[in-house]
Symmetry: C2
Subunit: 218 residues, 2 copies
DNA sequence: ATTATAAATGAACGTTAGTTCATAGTTTGG
DNA sequence: CCAAACTATGAACTAACGTTCATTTATAAT
């Protein structure tokens, strides 16, 4: 009786201005995925949150999973870009590279908590090739970190006792602590996102730097 | 037509020996929660996995949530005991205490991957007081770690520049990397659980030990 | 042996999930 | 100004969910 489709471009400004429906869906979804998890979030919650009815969502995404995929791929792409340019900004010094990368990674997770955490911890609900793609992206990121640490070890600036498999574990630990920071960090807290990111970068460099107690063998 | 209730004590041995139904349910549940998550695991999956029908589960647990609670509380208790005695074994030296605690924490997560990860990352599906209890247990554990780090800072054996809020972040990072290790570690891998735990303990001590670059301010 | 308790069954219940679809209104392009 | 392409609606569908229950069988206690 009262279907009132909205403009695709939206009235960019004014009291009744609305953004594109697709973007509103994505924003509502990322909020709800963060809060309740992908599985527990319903299509009806998402569409209600952005003023639509369930059927309308399927004009923009062909399934709930494709919605998750869109969010996850976008966040992964942005994390990669972010970390890549941080690496380049570190010049040829492995310590500067690693520090910059960790800082950028954590800062991204603190300033885009919802999307970053969705990409990093809801990917298990993707199936088939979507999942493979997400996993491949994650592996690529880990490899970039591992490369930098290895180069530092080779250059003698990082702890020489670290074996390649230990390096992998260290890298996974660093990434996981950054990812989980997106869960516990609260934007209004005493520590700024930059301070938290700096602390993580500091921890990373501390772990791998040469000097101090050698790593355990094995 | 063929209800064949089993012995509560079970025929302890022999070809048809069966353990107590409650334990079989818990074991099936912890496996499925680990693999598919709490929300996605169905009562029917659990009961099928241990040779029961859905209704039978409710003779042992009054709801799906109570099943999760039983698993989570048990694991938390065991982690606490484990970490507490590791702390005592460290004597009065904060570095030995922290190293032992991290080692014990990680080792527990690697040898009880399913239960530990369920306790640590499915607690959000508990409601009301169950959830509060879980959160309180987690906080107690964090406090124990923070106490040790703070005592090391006070004693001058750990980095003096670390503020209390930085200590909290460091502790959360340490715990999170141990927790996540339960997800990526594969028991048959090249690295033994002990070696991985040792490496984590090494990282922890490296981060907090005095000397090296001072932590960022803020 | 008899009784009381515990445990398993299989069918059912009420909900709610993701998704589809005929319909109707809106926007765009020629 | 008309037609084609979009987009939102609201109702419906199927499937699966957690849970309940009357009933039946096994075990434990007296």
């Amino acid at each position: 009786m009262k279907p009132k489709p909205q403009s695709r471009r939206g009235d960019a400004f004014g009291p009744n201005s609305r953004t594109d429906a697709r973007d509103r869906i994505l924003e509502a979804a990322v909020n709800l995925f963060f809060e309740h998890g992908f599985v527990s979030t319903t299509i009806r919650q998402i569409t209600t949150a952005c003023g639509l009815t369930p059927g309308a969502l399927y004009n923009h995404f062909k399934s709930k999973e494709e919605l998750l995929l869109a969010i996850a791929l976008d966040a992964q792409t942005r994390v990669w870009d972010c970390v890549s340019s941080a690496r380049e900004a570190g010049g040829a010094d492995p310590a500067a590279q690693l520090s910059n990368m960790v800082r950028a990674f954590v800062l991204f997770h603190l300033t885009h908590q919802r999307a970053a955490l969705t990409a990093s911890s809801e990917y298990r609900w993707l199936s088939g090739n979507d999942r493979k793609r997400n996993i491949a992206n994650r592996r690529r990121l880990r490899s970039a970190f591992a490369e930098v640490v290895q180069s530092g070890v080779n250059a003698g600036v990082f702890e020489s006792g670290l074996s390649p498999s230990q390096i992998n574990i260290v890298v996974m630990s660093l990434l996981n602590m950054g990812i989980r920071a997106a869960r516990w960090y609260e934007p209004g807290a005493a520590q700024s996102a930059e301070a938290v990111a700096d602390l993580h970068a500091w921890m990373a460099v501390r772990i791998v730097s040469a000097g101090g107690a050698p790593p355990p063998t094995g």
